[in-house]
Symmetry: C3
Subunit: 476 residues, 3 copies
Amino acid sequence: MSSIALDPDRLFPVDPALRQLARELHQLVADLPILSPHGHVPAELLLNNQPFGDPASLLISPDHYVTRLMHASGIGLDELGVAGTQAEPREIWRRFCAAWSIFDGTASGYWLRSELVSVFGLDEAELAPERADHLFDQLSAKLATAEFRPRALFDSFGIEVLATTDDPLDSLADHQALAADPGFSGRVLPTFRPDSYLNASAPGFAERVDRLISEAGDGLVGYAGYLRALQNRRAHFIESGAVSADHGVRTPSTLRLDQAEAARLFEAAIRGGLSQQDRDAFEAQMIYQMARMSVEDGLVMTLHPGSWRDHHQPTFNRFGADTGHDIPFPVSYTEGLRALLNDFGTSPGFHLVLFTLDETTFSRELAPLAGFYPSVFLGAPWWFLDAPDAMLRFRSAVTETAGFSRSAGFVDDTRAFCSIPARHDASRRVEAAFLARLVAERRVTEERAAEIIVDLVDAAPRRVFKLGASAGKSPS
Amino acid sequence: MSSIALDPDRLFPVDPALRQLARELHQLVADLPILSPHGHVPAELLLNNQPFGDPASLLISPDHYVTRLMHASGIGLDELGVAGTQAEPREIWRRFCAAWSIFDGTASGYWLRSELVSVFGLDEAELAPERADHLFDQLSAKLATAEFRPRALFDSFGIEVLATTDDPLDSLADHQALAADPGFSGRVLPTFRPDSYLNASAPGFAERVDRLISEAGDGLVGYAGYLRALQNRRAHFIESGAVSADHGVRTPSTLRLDQAEAARLFEAAIRGGLSQQDRDAFEAQMIYQMARMSVEDGLVMTLHPGSWRDHHQPTFNRFGADTGHDIPFPVSYTEGLRALLNDFGTSPGFHLVLFTLDETTFSRELAPLAGFYPSVFLGAPWWFLDAPDAMLRFRSAVTETAGFSRSAGFVDDTRAFCSIPARHDASRRVEAAFLARLVAERRVTEERAAEIIVDLVDAAPRRVFKLGASAGKSPS
Amino acid sequence: MSSIALDPDRLFPVDPALRQLARELHQLVADLPILSPHGHVPAELLLNNQPFGDPASLLISPDHYVTRLMHASGIGLDELGVAGTQAEPREIWRRFCAAWSIFDGTASGYWLRSELVSVFGLDEAELAPERADHLFDQLSAKLATAEFRPRALFDSFGIEVLATTDDPLDSLADHQALAADPGFSGRVLPTFRPDSYLNASAPGFAERVDRLISEAGDGLVGYAGYLRALQNRRAHFIESGAVSADHGVRTPSTLRLDQAEAARLFEAAIRGGLSQQDRDAFEAQMIYQMARMSVEDGLVMTLHPGSWRDHHQPTFNRFGADTGHDIPFPVSYTEGLRALLNDFGTSPGFHLVLFTLDETTFSRELAPLAGFYPSVFLGAPWWFLDAPDAMLRFRSAVTETAGFSRSAGFVDDTRAFCSIPARHDASRRVEAAFLARLVAERRVTEERAAEIIVDLVDAAPRRVFKLGASAGKSPS
């Protein structure tokens, strides 16, 4: 059995001198624990610790990175069991094996190969359409064993911290139960994600906000109750171990409004009488408010703008959100963030981690912003850009302006639990490859490169996401 | 005689391991036939098969890639015989030889060197100002021989398919005569290019549309006659072998209007009473209509947005269009294509090939779009981006999201007939260079890399442009 | 004593064949004189030739490239002596040594290391927090010696031409005194920088313009006096050796207005009654007027758009401009420059050097513009982009379209006098690295690469900035 996924030099530059340097740097971080301060694995998975079932339901149907490319090749999402559609898992798996070659060269293909070979021990040569049934049976059998249950994998993956993404009104009972469970020693943190409570264009906004206020508004009503409720829920998240609040916004606009104007917009938003422009203004001012609350309560603020969600309306209508057709568009942070940064950019302890899908902002905006504002940190290349070449472009574009110290470290942002080790390892390999080049070009000393890669992989996410230095489940 | 143009390793990476891999991959496709599904060589050239005449009139005057850079260095377009201006070909050639060094490092310089050395057998060392007359005579003598007539070159270049670009009202008599000519076995396809019938800002729009309707509208008038005439002319093109319709638009905006509103805009466009905004809306809705017709009649739709045509008005006034001063500007596809893709993005058999001059769209929009919509394919790096480094940036930026299977294959898009082999070969070399790196970084197996490069060069253009698998002149 | 800053192969590619080629190319230009046609070192520095004082006041406090990154790491600008704030130089220096590692991988870090090791002869191993006092004393002692006075450094740096940046109403007495000083043989040129006289949004605009007209308007008033005064001051600068006029504009918009409309806007601008849109229009038309004057008087026009100045208002309020928070934003030249280029793009002798902070314009706009317009030249990668990787991206993105002949050569644009040699050398190394690759990929011959690098480093800035071929202080 052999596979390129087992090559110890995968993702390293081919030049022998660089490769040797990259190897040595990677060695320093290869076995460090995984810190995953932003992702989409549910806490329930680890709480219940049930077997994953079949390989299609684990690896294909729920992963829109995977299903989108199969969809592009002509396979319907209903043939892939997306969004609960009925499709025989074995049939889905056959379709996947038949389409396997379309993933060549993609980040998803790299992760999948790595999972199948390294986690599940498959022989890559078997990933052929005619071996699909055999593989399906083989994987299903493994998934039924104790060592492939979620908690066992959590341990074998070497995960120290795993953040989930949660609705503000989530009771976080799963998190609390997990934290109290003596049979689980990992640290699983909730993340406050209030998008649908801030974006007045989201369907059901008024009802949702109404529920928020009534459940957490301390009896206050209107805009005051709304702010109080958000504040209270953030506090609840913090009590349950949350370290960050995540904001998936359309654009990085921020706006400071006076209380009366903000309240007026809020009331109109609830009544549904706002223009698109005013709904945008309302969201922009709420992002400003979220920053203000982060300054007060210490939750790290992460911002994920620039994706046109649900681009294909018919697919959204049938299969819902997160089904592979969120398409990025041009973004600029410089003007949009000005209101927020003017007031909070130098606030002590405030951490704002900026993510992007628009590479043009790497050198033009993100590095200059992070190179001045103590609060601004560079989020790892995200989503489509979480890929070896894109990560190298990111490092090349930001480092000359912002150095390494402004990086927030890697986040996997995934719902594909089994891909977590491959993703983190790929990131570590690319950091090693980039630093190897800087050493070889005499731009960084070998000694410092060794310190830098450990900082990027371990200390930076602890520092920027306020994870604390120690392992174990108790927040530090 | 020697030249860097004859180095078998040209354009390959310098690292020995990568170079060896690139060589092997290139070998697999080096001799495959040329498929050129989009370009600007006229059918008349091959029909008449007349000698090309002198080297300046062949290689310099008609090629705005070449004349623009000489213009930048201070040589007037009238000194280069552009647009029929009177200039002695021998003088033009002398100017070219004197300016030869300005092409160093450019794609045009690479192609020119390759043509002169590989096609015409010149000694590169002679490309010096003082040898200009000698070279002119040498080239003129060759061009007078039988082996340098268009059809002979077509054969020696190994061209299997060559698409032209044609006006919707073109009778296509040249294509038909060529197809019927027993002395020519190549396949020359017309391409439907309706830009000036869709863009109400184009001079002479009303007269042109009027003629279109009266010639092909089946007696219908107004908007109905207009749509019918376009449909009929597309059918005529398809009968004459066309496989695609090409759209050189300012922006990639599309718009779905109801029939009455579209008809109202059409009538106003004809009368000349439309605002710029309404003319843009009219074009956007006509691009939508073209997609609808492509869904119905199967013509592959190619979209070339983002060039500010005729940037320098005085040059346009004197020399006309395509004289070297079309300048790209920022483009975004995500919002603009939404109307079209919502209705036709998953239509069976619909092929939409997207080109760009704005590299920022590679990873941000084009790869994500092609990675979901079965209809969307990645056009090759176009025009200024049809160059070795830019092609590598393209592959690096799109592959991690969209893989290789969403590529439409190379198009040369050229009116410089003699540059066709150099262009295709350069593209094949860059694909080999890119794949070599992915193999060396253990991201693609050697076996798959070999399959991928053959697919990119041969099967992809056949598949995406519906060229059929077999050689020969009959459309499959 | 050893340092990566002393490695003769620093910044060269690691591949042995490329490195050897790069070495040979760099050798050809390593010792050529420094031509610095755009920068911010004041003439007074060389006129007075006083000792620099302490290292913090020389290297840290005035350099916003350096202080911004220390600010990002949590050190207040007041702790760094920015803008005349009181901080003990020795304390500043300690803070710098403690923070030294944050500069790893940055361009500033590269320059600083190079200065400290190559210019000041420090042992890099000593750049540790605990050695800060020792280094401070060592540097202070050196700075007190004759060989570290400005003129001595000017000579030892090998500077032939140094341009300053000056207010239009500057008497240029320092320049004149310096030119007349028999004890100084360098050539120090003023540069006409009229931003604050053209931008009606700038504080104090009306008063400044009023003074301009009364001092230089030949008794004319209003718009006519304003134009005349600008013209007169340009003439004064030319008499004092100026070769260029520099324009730091928000966007590259240009506009041709008729005289009456321009005068009307001018009057309203002076009265303060203009909307932001009209102020922008006024500036756009004044950039057009500056081009017109450049066509007439021959001053090279340099354009630096795309920076949001003073992004953090509180820092600006306390510390003033140029304190590290100018943040770039998206820019497009294609439409904006059209008015200017339509009228002056082919004017004989007109030179327009375009700079950018937005890399997206490299291949999309700048190379196509410079590849057609004889007046347009590619400015070196600027500010945040004056860094090794960014310079390579620039060359890769522009060369395939515009070749090498459209480059204006390197400008250091610095106020950090001691960093000048490191900056120029870094640029020369990167040019060598880029050309080495093109040679190895058989895209440029070795002979031509040798000519090209000498042209880029020496002939191009002389040609584009009209510096003349000869050394010495008299303008040619």
